[in-house]
Amino acid sequence: MAQVSSTPNIAGKGNVNPVRRSKWARLWHNNKYLWLLFLPCLLYFIIFRYLPMFGLIITFKDYNLFRGMWDSKWVGFKYYRMFLENPDFFLLMKNTFLLGLYKLVFGFPAPIILALLLNELKNAVFKRFVQTVSYLPHFISNVIVASMAIMFLSPSGGLINNIIVSLGFEPINFMMKPEMFRSVYVLSEIWQHIGWETIIYLAALTAVDPRLYEAASIDGASRMRKLWHVTLPGISPAIVITLILNIGKVLEIGFEKVFLMQNPAIYETADIISTYVYRVGMEQGNFSYGASIDLFMGIISLIFIYSANQISRKVSETSLW
């Protein structure tokens, strides 16, 4: 042991006298292999994550594919103003925010409740079966989930409408009614992810000290009281962390599923920022305008997650950073 630790000391002493440059040489010598391992990853992040951020200067230019980024004309805040003055601006903001809010309000407690119910099960085999089944939809693609939703809700022979008709009601054309879209979307999200999202809570539940339950039983606590005073406090850090993450993501609704489920008849509620950006930017080719809207929302989203984190740090001493 002594021998091992003395060797670097000698080497260190030998390197004190020479020029400062040797510090960099040593840094290179000690790290070159790790840096080499990291290099592909770094290149990926530079090219596919940071270069696009740099490319955001097109939001201040009149970008055009043939002229390229450098030769396009500077236009200042033209596209931001254009978006703020767009009559659809408030509608898009409202749709994005409400869809995210409903998803948070209904989608956030659902897996907590499911996890608590699973936790009550004594039969391990049945518990594992329910878990396995409920995780499944998380691995089904958005294309399939959207297809299923649209087909089951179809007014002509769709599964749900068949049930409605057999109960003696008129079939409802769900996907053509703007007022139904948010419910359909949020329910499909819950169906898809409720099981998977229980994992974090189930992990937290196994960490709750069983002695606390015993102590509560000795004190004569009922099942509900144990749930309230032992279980919930035990998993509250997991709940808070997930809540911050979800609040931060309120405006980042997945593009894919909304895009796949919407149609022009229900744009009134189903059109959100990201689908609008896709239409304006990718379909109509107005790259600068689309990117401006995206950046605008990105910054608002960043403010959202930052504030959620700050508030949680003050209130519960739990935070992401």
Binding site: N30, Y33, L34, W35, L37, F38, P40, C41, L42, Y44, F45, I47, F48, R49, Y50, L51, P52, M53, M69, L114, E120, L121, F129, V130, T132, V133, L136, P137, F139, I140, S141, N142, V143, I144, S147, M148, M151, F152, S156, G157, L159, W191, G195, I199, I200, A203, A204, R223, A238, L260, S274, V277, G281, M282, F287, G290, A291, D294, L295, L302
Partner: protein, 288 residues
């Protein structure tokens, strides 16, 4: 063996059974409809079991060369994409997990920042386009080569490996790359499997990359074909429209058959690989 069940347990068992039914019924129903005769489908008589069992729809779906092309494309994108992603992610994650790597903290911060902010759809498209990756195989696998979340997850895996193993490798004269390849990789097979499965599922299900970066039909993966067949309603080939008297109903079973054909691999493999996913999610959960 009779155990007294509390009211609460009975209640939760019933609720959980309902959850199971709601989750599984759509798949069972689609399978049943796709295997049933037209008449029964038209009369809405099919629910759990197929009536008038026949494989006509599957013959049509599997007889369509487009499905096979799309299947092949999806397989290629998934396999190649997962391989590339695993190489880049595991090497990067290992480097970031070493406390002695210089500039580890700023590099980690640079990476974590991308979880909260990105250039967005259009600037990313312009980068992909200017690299000449549009409508190529590389456009499908490179822009998603590293998922920040998976990278952080793998870094957590690697941080858990005892340092002594690394020291022993160093004694044997291995450099960091040697240690990674000969000691760390063989020790982390389960973690590799977990992350590889996350990537593979993501690539298999990916819709937005082909939507943004592919133009030619014969490059389309399964998800895009599915969307075109099922959602956009354009029926694949002429034969199909000519089959039934009532197109809409036949279309329903045909669409369900198409969905089943593209989902069956996941449904079959899923129960066996499920534990790996959960393991990965658990690690993520512990670390926050």
């Amino acid at each position: 063996m009779f155990k007294k069940l509390s009211l609460f347990q009975i209640f939760s068992t019933i609720v959980l059974l309902i959850v199971v039914v709601i989750t599984l019924y759509p798949f069972v129903h689609m399978l049943a409809v796709s295997l049933s005769g037209d008449v029964y489908v038209m009369r809405n008589q099919v629910s759990i079991f197929p009536k008038g069992l026949n494989f006509k729809m599957y013959e049509i779906v599997l007889g369509d060369p487009k499905i096979w092309t799309a299947y092949k494309n999806t397989l290629v994108y998934t396999v190649l994409g997962t391989l590339i992603a695993m190489v880049v992610t595991s090497m990067g994650a290992y480097a970031l997990s070493r406390p002695n790597m210089a500039f580890r903290t700023p590099l980690t911060m640079i990476i974590v920042f991308t979880m909260f902010f990105s250039g967005g759809m259009i600037p990313t498209f312009l980068v992909v386009r200017s690299l000449g990756l549009v409508d190529t195989l590389w456009g499908m696998v490179l822009p998603g080569a590293v998922s920040t979340w998976n990278l952080i997850l793998m870094r957590t895996f690697f941080s858990g490996i005892p340092r002594e193993l690394e020291e022993s490798g160093r004694m044997d004269g291995l450099n960091d790359i040697g240690i990674f390849l000969r000691i760390i990789v063989p020790l982390s097979k389960a973690s590799f499997a977990t992350i590889a499965l996350f990537y593979a599922v993501g690539l298999w299900n990916n819709f937005i990359f082909p939507l943004l970066y592919l133009r030619s039909q014969d490059m389309f993966p399964l998800q895009v074909l599915l969307r075109n067949l099922v959602l956009a309603g354009s029926v694949s080939s002429g034969d199909v429209t000519r089959i039934g008297g009532d197109n809409q109903i036949v279309e329903e079973s045909l669409k369900f058959a198409t969905i089943m054909v593209s989902t069956l691999p996941i449904l079959i493999v899923y129960p066996f690989i499920q534990k790996y996913f959960v393991k990965g999610a658990m690690i993520g959960a512990v670390k926050g």
